[in-house]
């Protein structure tokens, strides 16, 4: 297949393909982090994860419109404001949902699945009623479009690099929060033994609420970032949910390291196969491999020992 191409052509493609894989990796990590926190730390299967992402996307769209109309000089940097607002909006909605719905279901994990699925349908229809059934186009500042010309033949998408940088930043922040801050210690204490954590004075209800809010808030940031590479419509969240669950389940539900490792292996397999085979076949083979591995290792790549 490569007989007709020069060595430098192939080198350029190899480099760009490597970046394509890394970008896909970042996208997967960003999608899955919020879900992994909620699933891993709280054992709640949040089927409405995609809708929390799309809330972030809609917030970005509204911010973009508002900035264009009121303060056009701010437009080149509006995306950063939009991401913060997306975090706040999705996080606040997440905390509201936890308070109104999820906390009554902690002892019934399968019911959270149904409840959050219902929630996702409600949110989809709410978006449709509020923003209309059609997709909205989020306008990006000029500097975020286009590509960076590394050499004559190597072009790296700027929005891809932006997503990579964002993913690294958010991953570091999440790890810092969960593993170094005192609040993170409380979260992990609740995960390991809820009753004991309560006995030593940790407000477990509050910890739950903020954990859920954090997970949803990160979903909001992810949704905001994905307006650069994907569509924004009432049901666009559904496009991400399957891949997201795949990454989290394959990684081992309770492990953030596992999530990252699984995002890496799935994205590399997917993008390499896509290059040599076709898009649909790549998906089929990736899914088959994951199913086979999960049959041998149902707990996923990395499994932490947790309280049962």
């Amino acid at each position: 297949m490569f007989g007709d191409y020069s060595i430098s052509d192939l080198g350029a493609i190899l480099a760009m393909q490597g970046f394509a894989g890394l970008i896909l990796f970042s996208v997967y990590v960003l999608m899955a982090l919020g879900l992994a926190i909620i699933f891993g730390q709280m054992g709640v299967i949040n089927m409405a994860h995609g809708e929390f992402m799309i809330l972030g996307a809609y917030v970005t769209w509204m911010t973009s419109n508002a900035v264009q109309h009121t303060a056009p000089w701010l437009f080149p940097g509006y995306f950063f404001i939009a991401m913060i607002l997306a975090f706040i909006a999705s996080g606040a909605l997440g905390m509201l949902v936890e308070w109104a719905l999820i906390r009554h279901l902690y002892k019934r994990p399968l019911d959270t699945l149904l409840a959050t699925w219902g929630l996702s349908l409600i949110l989809q229809q709410a978006y449709r009623s509020i923003f209309g059934a059609r997709e909205v186009g989020v306008e990006l500042p000029e500097w975020m479009m286009g590509s960076w010309q590394a050499t004559d033949s190597i072009q790296i998408p700027i929005n891809g690099m932006f997503v990579m940088a964002l993913t690294i930043l958010i991953t570091i922040v999440v790890f810092y929060i969960l593993f170094w801050s005192s609040w993170g210690k409380q979260v992990r204490a609740v995960v390991q033994n809820r009753v004991m954590a309560g006995a030593v004075g940790i407000n477990t209800e509050k910890v739950d609420r903020y954990t859920f809010g954090l997970g949803c808030g990160i979903a909001g940031i992810a949704g905001s970032a994905f307006t650069m590479i994907g569509s924004t419509g009432p049901t666009a969240g559904q496009l991400y949910i399957v891949d997201t669950f795949l990454v989290v389940v394959f990684g081992g539900a309770a492990s953030l390291f596992g999530t990252i490792a699984s995002a890496f292996s799935i994205s590399q397999t997917q993008s390499t196969l896509e290059f040599f085979l076709s898009g649909s076949m790549a998906k089929v083979i990736t899914l088959l491999t994951i199913v086979a591995i999960l049959m041998v290792r149902p707990q996923g790549l990395f499994a932490l020992k947790v309280r049962k």
Partner: protein, 420 residues
């Protein structure tokens, strides 16, 4: 509703509208005797459809919830506009159209169930509806069993023909062949990279495209053909492959949310559509709204209607549509085709002099609609439309600029020989 003037209608349509409106006050003053020229219900409705002396009921069956609501909203809007205009012009055989709208909810069994409800319970004289081929395939047996009439608006893959369906969009060969010939002739294109979402329409269309490229265009070849699962959002790998193979033309039939991801990533990867020719048959003005005009500017689309068409019918249609549905709404190919449905049905009923389904089906071939926003259309014996095929170039403001149109109407050929 009846005395509302549509501003700027300058066409045969306008004349009809004015005549209808002029007649209305007189009619309402005189009461029943004024209907003397309206044929008796028993004469025009021998099979028990929902037709009374003053009203006729039709159905609208689209998804207004679920994934497909994105696409089908425009069709619903167009059909309602057409019905309102027909009523303002005096209705069909002197009867006002009343519509019952059902929601297919993007779910094919629901479409079948609602179709049955519209035909069996509501006795609809005609149904405007469906969008995806899957939904049409789901309702087809229902329409054939209960003898209903469906006006289907979407461009689709062909390979179907039914007494009970009028296809107001283009079938695949109408949309594909003229476009490929054009790009081959004017751009000197020799190599093609075919892309599509992974379901029946893109696959069948690309099959026709491949046959045409390999068998009918001198020295042309397909350098790649790929499909992506519906909803796929990552296209960086295939974009790299395109960069490697450097095709003259990217031929893209990607649909739905994937569309947005594809064009955004294409632009981000540094593929400049003002230099790289891209020809699509799946992106209408509706989709550009989500993609963003700046991301797709320079791409060519091949279909039968663009909102920017410069003809008197369209100049009346676009403002009427915007007046009813808002200044910001855009009108894509399928929306226009959906608008044709109620009008073609009205003209057919008037030609047949009856609402009976069998008589309409028989009278359909040869029915002409001179007020179509796309220009003149005519129903073929195979229940598809004769229509022109056009190539437009996307501009940053989200509109297409007309580049080329076929000189004559293109004959619909749902079962193309040598292309299967």
């Amino acid at each position: 509703m009846s005395d509302e003037t549509k501003p700027g209608l300058k066409s045969p349509l306008r004349r009809k509208l004015l005549m209808g409106m002029a007649a209305l006050p007189a009619v309402s003053m005189l009461g029943r005797p004024a209907f003397a020229d309206v044929p008796a219900t028993s004469a025009v409705n021998t099979t028990g459809l929902a037709v009374t002396d003053s009203e006729v009921t039709v159905g609208i069956l689209h998804s207004v919830t679920g994934t497909m609501a994105i696409s089908e909203t425009g069709s619903v809007e167009a059909e309602k506009l057409a019905i309102e205009q027909i009523n303002a012009a005096g209705g069909v055989l002197g009867r006002k159209i009343k519509f019952i709208q059902e929601d297919g909810a993007s779910d094919w069994p629901t479409f079948a169930e609602k179709a049955k409800k519209l035909l069996v319970n509501d006795k609809c004289a005609a149904v405007m509806g469906c969008w995806t081929s899957a939904s049409r395939k789901a309702v087809l047996p229902v329409f054939e069993q209960y003898n209903g009439m469906l006006y289907y608006p979407t461009f689709y893959e062909g390979l179907e023909q039914s007494k009970n369906v009028i296809y107001t969009g283009q079938e695949a060969t109408q949309q594909i062949i003229a476009g490929l010939d054009w790009v081959n002739k004017t751009k000197g294109a020799k190599s093609f990279y075919l892309l599509g979402s992974d379901y029946i329409w893109p696959r069948t269309s690309n099959k026709i495209a491949r046959k045409h490229i390999e068998n009918h265009l001198q020295g042309c070849k397909v350098v790649g053909e790929e499909y992506f699962p519906l909803g796929s959002t990552q296209f960086n790998s295939v974009i790299n492959k395109i960069k490697l193979t450097k095709p003259d033309v990217i031929y893209a039939i990607i649909v739905g949310g994937s569309n947005v991801a594809f064009y955004k990533q294409l632009k981000a990867a540094g593929i400049d559509l003002s230099k790289q020719t891209l020809l699509t048959i799946s992106v209408t003005e509706d989709e550009i709204d989500g993609i963003g005009g700046e991301n797709i500017a320079g791409a060519y689309a091949c279909m039968k209607y663009f909102q920017s068409l410069d003809n008197p019918n369209n100049k009346a249609f676009v403002p009427a549509f915007k007046k009813m549905w808002g200044e910001k709404t855009v009108i894509g190919d399928v929306t226009q085709a959906a608008y044709l449905g109620p009008w073609l049905w009205k003209l057919t009923v008037e030609k047949a002099g009856s609402f009976d389904i069998d008589k309409i089906a028989a009278a359909s071939p040869g029915v002409e609609f001179k007020g179509a926003p796309e220009g003149y259309v005519r129903i073929h014996e195979n229940h598809h439309l004769w229509s022109k095929t056009r190539v437009g170039r996307a501009k940053a403001d989200g509109q297409y600029e007309l580049i080329y149109e076929t000189a004559d109407l293109v004959e619909p050929d749902p079962f193309p020989k040598g292309y299967q």
